[in-house]
Subunit: 544 residues, 2 copies
Amino acid sequence: MEHVHDSAASEPQMRWNGWGDAAKAKDLPFAVRSLLPLLLGRVRRPESPAALTDVRVSVSMLTPDDLDRFAGAVGAAYVDTTADGRLRHAGGKSTPDLLRRRGAEQSVPDAVVRPASHDEVRACLEVAVRQGIAVIPFGGGTSVVGALDPERGEHRGVISLDLRRLSGLIRIDQISQEAVLAAGTTGPDAERLLAAHGFELGHYPQSFQYATIGGFAAARSSGQNSAGYGRFETMVTGLRVATPSGDLDLGRAPGTAAGPDLVRVFLGSEGIFGVITEVRVRVHPQPQERVFEAWTFPDFESGVEGLRQVAQHSSGPTVIRLSDESETAVSLAQVGKIGRLLTRGASAITVYEGEDIAARRARTSALLAAAGGISSGEGPAEDWRTGRFDGPYLRDSLLDAGVFCETLETATTWSNLLTLRAAVEDALRAGFAEADAKSYLMCHVSHVYPTGASLYFTVLAGVRTDALSVWEKVKGQATDAIVATGGTISHHHAVGRDHAPWLESEIGATGIRILAAIKRELDPRGILNPGAVIPASAPSAQDA
Amino acid sequence: MEHVHDSAASEPQMRWNGWGDAAKAKDLPFAVRSLLPLLLGRVRRPESPAALTDVRVSVSMLTPDDLDRFAGAVGAAYVDTTADGRLRHAGGKSTPDLLRRRGAEQSVPDAVVRPASHDEVRACLEVAVRQGIAVIPFGGGTSVVGALDPERGEHRGVISLDLRRLSGLIRIDQISQEAVLAAGTTGPDAERLLAAHGFELGHYPQSFQYATIGGFAAARSSGQNSAGYGRFETMVTGLRVATPSGDLDLGRAPGTAAGPDLVRVFLGSEGIFGVITEVRVRVHPQPQERVFEAWTFPDFESGVEGLRQVAQHSSGPTVIRLSDESETAVSLAQVGKIGRLLTRGASAITVYEGEDIAARRARTSALLAAAGGISSGEGPAEDWRTGRFDGPYLRDSLLDAGVFCETLETATTWSNLLTLRAAVEDALRAGFAEADAKSYLMCHVSHVYPTGASLYFTVLAGVRTDALSVWEKVKGQATDAIVATGGTISHHHAVGRDHAPWLESEIGATGIRILAAIKRELDPRGILNPGAVIPASAPSAQDA
C-alpha cells in the first residue's frame, strides 16, 4: 500500500452571490433575449444586486472566549469573522438563496472555522458542544436545498465549519483500486490527484468544479456518469466520521454481513450526525478511450422506453440521458445554449468510456434504434460535454434579466415515470398560473436504474411579483404532487431544510424517529446543522 | 401493475437435528472413509444422537393467558407448544448447533407462533411487549451464527416467531422488473412464483432450499450468482417492517437522496429492530441460456489474480469461484464429493447466464488465461452445479463418523486477501494443534468485488475430546486473527450471537451505540432477539 498525502490546489473562489468563477459569467445570447418575452411574457429587469462593499451582515454572537477556543482548535489564522468570509458561507446556491443574496442585509454565520484534520474537526466539535454553538459543516457550498443556512437552533451562536483544508489523497491501494480522500477535497482536485496514479473516480455532478468528496457522500450525490460508474454512494467503501460524542471508522470489507451497513447511516446524513473527514472510494483506471453519440427520438415516451431497455439489459453506456421535447427545443439545461431551436423530438446523449466500447455501443444502439431512436452523430453529444457545467452560469444571467429559473428533481419506477412527470408539470404549471406567471418547463432523465429512473425539471417563469414567495408556494405544490404520485422527494439534491417538511411522507413517522434517535445518541446537544433533514424536536416513542 | 397473491408450497421439512431432507442424507463414500484417518488420524465414532422420542425439552414458561393472547393474534391452530414443534425451532444449523442437538436435553422456545400477515406479526409483537416475552424471528432456520437461539434475555418467556406462513408473491411490476414477496417465502417458492411470470431472482446461497426472502434480507445474504446479480442487499429495493413501536414501509425510488437509506438499517439487523414482513426486489427475465466452464490454475495465488482481473474489468461471469489447492484436491466443499483427488493446482468454476454470453465468456476467459488458467471444460463445472447444495448433508455424515466439520468466512481487499487467508489458516491450525487434533483446511473465493473478495474456509478436524469447547476456542482465535488482519467478521453468515463479541472491533464503540440507540427507539422493552448482534445492555453516551 502506497502512502501519499498530496496537497491540492483549489478552483477559483466561488462568487458570493452567484455561481462559480465571476470571470466565466455569461451574457444571454441575443436569440435568447428575443425568445424569452415570447415564452414568458415581458418581465422587468430587477434592481442590480447589492455590491459586496454595501452589504451589512448580522452581528457575530460569538464572544472573544469562543473565538479563542476555536483558535485553540485550528489556529487563529483559521477563525474568520470578516464580513466577506462569513458572507461566502451564508448558504448554498439554490435560486431562492441567490435571490436572497441580492439584498443589502444578509444573515450569515457568526464565524467561519477551518480545521485541517480529523483531530481538528473533533476539537471544533468539542468547543462547540462546550460553548453551546451550532455547527454547519460546509464543503463546496453548492447545496440547493438549504442545507447550509446559518441556523442557530436553540444555540446562542452558529459557525460554518469549512472543511476544504482537509484536502488531499491520503492513501491509494492500486491493487484493490481503492483510494482514501480527505473529505474537503474538491472534485477537480480529487481527479487531479488520482490521475497522477493513473486512476479516476469518475463522479461528475453539475456541482463538480466546487463540491467536495465529503459533500458528495453526505448528500448522496449522483453524477453524469452514473450509468457507468454508479451513484456516489456506490463508490464509497468506507468513511471516517467525527461526531460530538465519538469517532467512527467504518467500512471494513467490500462485502460484509457484520450487522447493518453503518456507512449508509452517514451517506445522506447531511452533517446532522457528524462530520465526514475521510472517504474511502472505489476508483478505476483512467479510461483510454471515449466515444460520444447523440440520438433523436420521435417523442419523450419512446426515448424513455429506449433508456429502460438500456438500463434493464445493462448494455453499457457510461452516460445516458434524454431530454423531453421542450428541453430539446430550447437545449438550455442540456447543452448550456439557448437558441439552437430544433423543431421536434426528444434528444438523447450517450457516452462510452473505457473498455469494449464497440460492443457496448452496438448493444446500446440496437436497443435505442428498436425504440425509435435515430443517431444524430457526435456533434450534439460533444456540445453537451462542452456545456455540461454551464447551466448555473446561465441561471445567473437569466435571474439578472428578471427571468425566474430553478430546477427540481425526483425519481420513480419505470412504470410510474410518465405519470409522475405529468403530475409534477401539472402542479408547476398550475402554480405559476395562479401567480399569473407564464412558465416554460423542461424535463430530462439523466440517471437510469434497472427498476426506474430520475426526472430532472428545469423551470423558467416570468414572475412579476415576489419571485421568492411565488416559488416557495409552487415548489411546495410540486413536492406535494411528487409525494402523492409515488416519487422520491429528492433523487440527488438531498433534503436540507427545503425538503425536510416532506421527509416524513417518504420514510414515515417511525423512520423520522430512527433518524432522531441516532441524532440524540451522537449529537445529544443538537449542535450539528439544526433544522436540516429532520425537525429539531422529532418525536420519540419513549416520550409518548 | 399486476396484483397477484399466489400461495406457495414448501420444501420437505428440515431435519430437527441435521440438515435438510432426511431422505437425501448421504453415506460417506468408501474412498473418503479410507482417506480420513490419513488426514486426521483415527477418530472415534460418536454415540448415536438421541432419538426424537427420547428428547426432553425445557418446560414452557408461558401461561395459559399468554397462549390465549397469542392465539388471539394468529388463531389457536398456529400457537404450537408441542415438543416436536419447539425442538424444530431450537436454533440454527451451525456445527455447534448440531453437536448440541445430539443430546437428550434440549433448550427450546416456550412456543412457536405462526402469523400469516403483517398485521398478525404486529399483533404478536404487541402481545409480546405487553406480556414481557422475548421474540425470536424465524425464517428458514438456517442460521449458522446462533441468531435463532431461544434466548429470553430479561424476559420470563421466549417464542419463536415462525414467518413461513407469510408466503407468496404479493405484486409484480413487469415493466419496472420489481416484485414484492412476503418475507417468509422460501428460495424455491420465490423462484417458482416468479418463473410463472418469466422472471427470476437468481439468489442461490447454500441455504437456498430452506431459507426465506426475509432471512436473506435480515442477514445480508450473498448467493452463488453474486458476480452476476449481486449480493441480496443489492437486489432489495424496499422493505415493510413491523416493530414493537411502529411500522415502516421503506424504499420509495430506485435512486434517492432523501436522507440516509433506512432500508440499509434493516438489512443486516437480524431481527433485533423489527420483523421484516415484505421485501421488494429487483428481478430479471429468466435466463434462456447457461454455459459452464471450469478452469485450473497452477496455484491459488495465480487464480486470485485471475479473479481480481475479472472483477475489476467487469468481464461478466454470473458465477466465478476459486478453490485453493487443498479444496481442489479433496473437492469436498466445492462439488460435494470426496475422493476425486486431483494431483495439484487450484480449480475455478465459471458460469454465464443470460445475454451476450459468447462475448462475456471470451473476455473472462482471456483474463483467466492471462493469469495462468487453463480451461478444464464443462465437466467439473457441471459437477459443481449438481452438488452445490450438498455440502451440509456431507457435514452430517462426517459428524456421524466423528469428524469435526465446520465453515467460516470473511472478506477483505484484494491487496490483503492472501495475507488474511494465511493468518486465518495459521490460527486454525495452531488452535487445533493445541487441542492435539489434526486438521485439514480448505479455502475458496466465491464472491468477488472490484475492491476485494470473500474467503470461505472449510475445516475438518480429528477432535478426540469435547469438540464443542475445542471449536469455541479455535473459532475465537480465528476470529481474532480476522480482526487483527483487517478482515470483516462475516461476509455473509452474519453476526448472530456467535460473532456478537467481535462486532465492536469492526464498527467501534460508537457504531455499537448507534445500533443500540435504534434498538431502544424501536424496541424499548428489548423483546426482539435478545443478545443477537449487540450486547443486551449496550452503552450510551447519554448514560455516561
